[in-house]
Every structure is written in structure tokens, then in C-alpha cells.
Subunit: 350 residues, 2 copies
Amino acid sequence: MSNKPSLAVVGATGAVGTVMLSILSERADVWGEIRLIASARSAGKKLKCRGEELTVVALSPEAFDGIDVAMFDVPDEVSAEWAPIAASRGAVVVDNSGAFRMDADVPLVVPEVNPEMVKQRPRGIISNPNCTTLSMIVAMGALHKTYGLKELVVSSYQAASGAGQSGIDALRAQMKQVAGTDAGDATGDLRKHVTDLGPFPAPLALNVVPWAGSLKADGYSSEELKVRNESRKILGLANLKVSATCVRVPVITTHSLTVHAVFEKEPSRKAAQDILANAAGVKLVDDPENYKFPTPADVVGTDPTWVGRVRKSIDDPMALDLFVCGDNLRKGAALNTAQIAELLAVEFTK
Amino acid sequence: MSNKPSLAVVGATGAVGTVMLSILSERADVWGEIRLIASARSAGKKLKCRGEELTVVALSPEAFDGIDVAMFDVPDEVSAEWAPIAASRGAVVVDNSGAFRMDADVPLVVPEVNPEMVKQRPRGIISNPNCTTLSMIVAMGALHKTYGLKELVVSSYQAASGAGQSGIDALRAQMKQVAGTDAGDATGDLRKHVTDLGPFPAPLALNVVPWAGSLKADGYSSEELKVRNESRKILGLANLKVSATCVRVPVITTHSLTVHAVFEKEPSRKAAQDILANAAGVKLVDDPENYKFPTPADVVGTDPTWVGRVRKSIDDPMALDLFVCGDNLRKGAALNTAQIAELLAVEFTK
């Protein structure tokens, strides 16, 4: 019926999977069959994509038969088990989990930064970066091309949805518990109002929590190491200096980051703004005189990496300071996965 | 009646003034008369301090007669006019505004860091630092003594009360407007729910806003320049490299900051934790294995600078990364002013 490639969406019923179905419905239609795959308990469920109703099928080796490209939006352990199975059935896997990102035989791809890496996939698997890395790396890649990146000092302002639907639910419930009260005025009183922390280690409404992910060596969180290790791999800079501190904030969706970036060549504020204004996948909003800068309220639901507050560091002529926002469910997850899959679709339709 | 020095609190009815009266009631009582001064429209108002009811008197030159130490918690322009008048009447002024902080003849004092500077006050005026600087400088001063500070890269997570009572009121009202809704799920929908931005340039509930203060040269906010310039002056490091990005978060009270600090001598994580655990005015809470780190919910209403997430930078042996919280109305304003005044009280009672 069509010589367009076939696509499987594994984890179609999850938070990222749901955004994926709407992204697939919005973008140029490069796909033939789209097959929705999820756990056995979701099999038979009907979901809409591209205006058609599709029936979810259960995850099994046979579910990948006839599939050219399989996107995985599932937990690490599910990807670790099933991505190689899908690859062995002939599908190229685009995996949004952390299972393969640092595997030397699996490229970590951001289409605006290193699209050529999709070809180097000896395992038949391509990884999609972590949402926090993705929220800033397109902008950093654009500046790196001109100035040569040497060092990043990054602090995150991460949204609740980065912890999944349970993160959104917990923050929404906490908002109702603290609104209209005087919580936050006295030591510890937020903990009295908030009955359910959800996936967070402290109340998130009216608070900020300097933790995301699991504990790794030397006091680091897994999220902080991902930002460092994935930035190095995507940019192809094995010696890039990266310091990251990841902090959760009471925002539903859209991760923000402050970035202090040190370069090999001296940047100017104006030239950096011009580079960002013209970079694919970047939207520059940098007019503080008129209070124009990105905030999650305006970025949520949009595709680009938004950048503002671009300043030349006062005490380091080689450095820029900036503020970056990206929708962690779109570019931070589903959109980048869809973009990688589209690079593959071109191969299959040739 | 007493040979204890007399104290005036100018701006006694404001947000910081209110906290000041409770701090004066809690701390060791070094003062004889305490006189409350405010604008003419608050004159005659009765406020409690040290268990006694005091009547507010109107600001006038004569209001300072017989006063040894005068604390000012008023807007910049009021301090600029009235602090020199108080000084000319013989009071030593401790000013919490921005009016004199960068004046070479006015010391900028943090009692744990540079107490000796209170003696060097040719104008009879001592300045109290900005609340964002104060939220991290005690911890940085302690590390600087051992390791020698070379560079700071700082990102703030600033509370609404840093913008005064109108900031608190706006955030409280916005919380009520967005709780129980799905605001924050779609582009721009927060702006539909929030009817009053208050003193902020964008909605603050369920959002973060990368702006605090007024616009200065080259895209910087006044708050960012204060963090840089005041840190240099307090630490006596004219060449300290400082990059700051200031961001407002939906927290009522307590500023948080991530700090990337580069030193002359190589620090170790353990030794840095020991220094911070033993530093006056610092509380170390750094046990991520048990999810123990400072958050505004626990810091609000307390005196110390709380520090956690202490890590040695992976790619720079000379650097540490940490997370710091301080109550911006207490140590960030009223408490530090009271501590400076107490250093002066010692002089007057000798």
C-alpha cells in the first residue's frame, strides 16, 4: 500500500508515549504503518494517532515483525531487555531510556547537533539523551560550532513531569494543599500541609529540592552525571569540563537551566545572540528591557530550545552566561526521538 | 537608668522591620532604649518588642537624638536621604538598603566574615549586604579562609519575599488561582489563570522567572551585579571572578543558590564538609544517601546559612559545587543587621 517505512511506538500509553502520538500527528507524515506497543495489560486499548484509531498490541518479539523503526519510551530495564530483541527482529531502535546512552556502540543523537551519528549503530540501537541534557544541548551545540566549548557550569530548574505522571500528580495535589494557607512562612510547616511527597524527597509546592535521580559516587545524583557524560558524548568533546547541579522546582513541564559556558575563542554578546537567533531548533527571546526572556509558562508545549539572558561574563572574556528553557516532554523526550526516527525514515525510503 | 546603648529601628513597620522586632526580642538583650521610627503615617502605631509595647515615632532629625545605633530597613532613596542625617545627629547607622553598599567610605559587613570592618566607618554608616549575597557569603567566607577563593559561578533560586510584602501577596494570590486547575500544561495558559503579576514580570506560581531587580548595562540585572560587587567587597577580593544569574522561584521565603567555587588550593570534599560543619553561622546538612539536604521548607525561620550537596567538581580538582539556602528576611536582612548592631553595642558599652 505504501513504500513508506513502518514505525512501532513502544510504551505508547505512558507520559512520553502520549506526547509522542500527538507529535506524530502534527509532523510531516513520513510513516507507513504505525504500530502501538505496550505492556500486556494495556493491550487492546484504543488510541488515536494521525486521526486514526489504533489498537495497542502487547510487547512480544513478534510485535516487531515488519517494523523498520521502533521507538522505545519505557523504563531503563524494559529497554535493556527489549531493545536488543527488537533490533534482532530487524527494527532500528530509537531508545529514550538511559539503558544504552553511554554504550560505545550506541550513538547518542541530537539531530541539530550530530545527525551524522545515526549511521554508526553497530547494535541497531540509537539513544535519545536525557531530558535535562536535551533542554540545553541544541543551544550549546550552536555556540560550540563557532567558539569551541571548553567548560560548562550548569544549574537546573527541573519540572515535576521529569519524574513522570506521578511527579505531575504529586505537585498538583500539593498545590491544592498549600494554596490559601500560610505554608512556607515558618520552619517545617510545608511538611505539615503536604501529605504525599510523590516521587520527590521533600515537598515540591512552594519549595525547591536539590535532587533528581539516584545517588551515585561522591555525592553526585545520576541526573548530574547524565548532564556531564551525555554532553561530552553528543558534542564529541571527551575532555569537556562539566559541573552540574540539578534542582527540582514546582513547575509542571519545561526544564530551565542557567549555563555558564567557557569557550576557546572569545565570543561577543551580539554575535552569540545572532548565532542563537539563526540556529535550527533554537528560539532567542532576549530583550530584558521589555522583560522578554523565556519562562516555562510560555515554553511548555513548544518545540524549540528557548534562550534568553545572554550576557558576556564580566570577569571572563571567554565566557557567556545564559538562561535556557526546553519542554522536557517534547524536545526533552518525544520530539527528539521523533526527529531521530525521521532521519532513519529517509534511509528506509531511499 | 542603664548604661546600655540606645537603638533606633527605622522602618519598623515594614516586612524586614517586623522580622527585626522579633529578632530583637529573641536575642541576648544588649540594648537600653529601643526606639521605633517609621514614616509619619505610621507614627502613633503600637508594636511589641522585647515584651514591651512601643509607640512608633515619625522620622525626623530629632528622632535620632540620644540614639547610639540606628538600623535602617527602608527603600534606597529614604536611606540615601536620612542615614547621613542620623549620622550627623551622632548615631552610627547600620543600613540595609543598597544606597551605600559600594561607597568606598562605607564598610559592607558580615559579622562571621569581616567583623573588623565595622571600625572603618568614616561616614558613620555601615552597610548590610543584599539578601542574595548574604544567603551564600558566610559559607563562602569559611571556605575562602582555608582554600583561597578565585572564582564563583552562582545561580539563584530567589523567594518571592525578596520583592517585599507585595511579592508574597502576589505569589499567595497566584497559588489560589492555579491550584486545582491544569495550568502549566499548555503554552501560555498560566497567563490566563494569573490575573495579577504583582512585582514580577511573569507569573511566578508554577513558573520560574529569570529576572530580579532592574536592568543594568550589557543585559545584567541589578541583583546579579550586587552579588558580584558585594561578594568582592565583603571578601576583600578585588579581582574575584564572579558570574551570577538570578532567577525568581515560587517560594515564599528563603533564597537558595547553587555555587561553583574555584579555589587557589585544592579542596577535598571531606575537609570542606568539616570546615562548613564547624563554621559559625553555617549548618551543614549533607547526607544525600538519606535524602538530607537543605530546602527552603526547612530553612525558613532559621538563622544559619544551610549548606548541602557538597561535591568536588569532577573535571576541576580546584573546584567545589554546592547548594546553599538562607532565610532572606533573617540572615538575608534583619539578622545580619542586628548582628552588626551588636558589634557596635560592644563598643558603646566599653
